[in-house]
Subunit: 185 residues, 2 copies
Amino acid sequence: MHKILVICGSVRPTRICPEVARWVMDRLPPGAPLALELTDLADWPLPLDGEPGIPARDGYTRPLTHAWSRTVVAAAGYVLVTPQYNWGYPAALKNVLDHLYREWAGKPAMIVSYGMRGGGKAAAQLREVLDGLHMRPTATMPALTLPAAMKTGAAFDIATGPFDALADTVAQAFAELAALLAPTA
Amino acid sequence: MHKILVICGSVRPTRICPEVARWVMDRLPPGAPLALELTDLADWPLPLDGEPGIPARDGYTRPLTHAWSRTVVAAAGYVLVTPQYNWGYPAALKNVLDHLYREWAGKPAMIVSYGMRGGGKAAAQLREVLDGLHMRPTATMPALTLPAAMKTGAAFDIATGPFDALADTVAQAFAELAALLAPTA
């Protein structure tokens, strides 16, 4: 089994990210050799100005950065579940990516975005960042469209099945993630 | 005179952003109707999880967010001076943009990036975010290339004139910023 960190990109107190992430995790195809582990960035309060040096060149100074480094190294791959903020990725997600460098290199990753229009612009920007980190993103990037009623304040309710039409797409992305981890003969 | 906030996008303790920003500010063409004011994000520690609501829809809860809102509203335009981190914009810069929404709408902005290759990828992502915020970015986006010796740890020294070849490009961007602020007859 390959250990996969599922990283929730939002730390906003009213976020729906953990719920979205759990729905994504439930779409893992039976028998896939992936052990998913939900990672809440609220548990990783890495300060924006926490490290003086450049991760690609210098060492780390804070115990929390070292702990985050060990956590990321211990995973074989990642699922990044992210909302779209103003056509881009959230600062909270970029912050934990930028805190490290070598730890990400060569690792496969699957991006799942959500937003009123699916968050595809944020996913595209995030994919470029993963390329900059020398990661291997899956070709399929599920973009989950939120119910239109949320725009005027309606609560999010996963029980109404808002993303059901994308279930096969998410399963396909998981299959690609597993394939990227398979040993090449 | 139009008040322009010059926002330094990096809060890393060893950052060169304020020095780069001051060099940029010194390129303001004489007589341009712009009053530049350097804004250090280290003075605006807006927490990543500081506001529960969605800026476009809900109010703010923290005094610091209200103060940031007033500061942004009081400016006619912005110069964003940003390093490139892993082909994207820094979390610190995205964080202060995402904390507000209506305050940015319709305002002109000039993006100046810097990096080992000029930081053009970060500038392009940032421009997309400004579009998402309904801002009006200048057409010219100066991309300042850092001296190659910095890659192996050499100190940055603005006195050696690393960006001199781009001085006219920065002046051109300032002219465009002023033009975007001019009243239409």
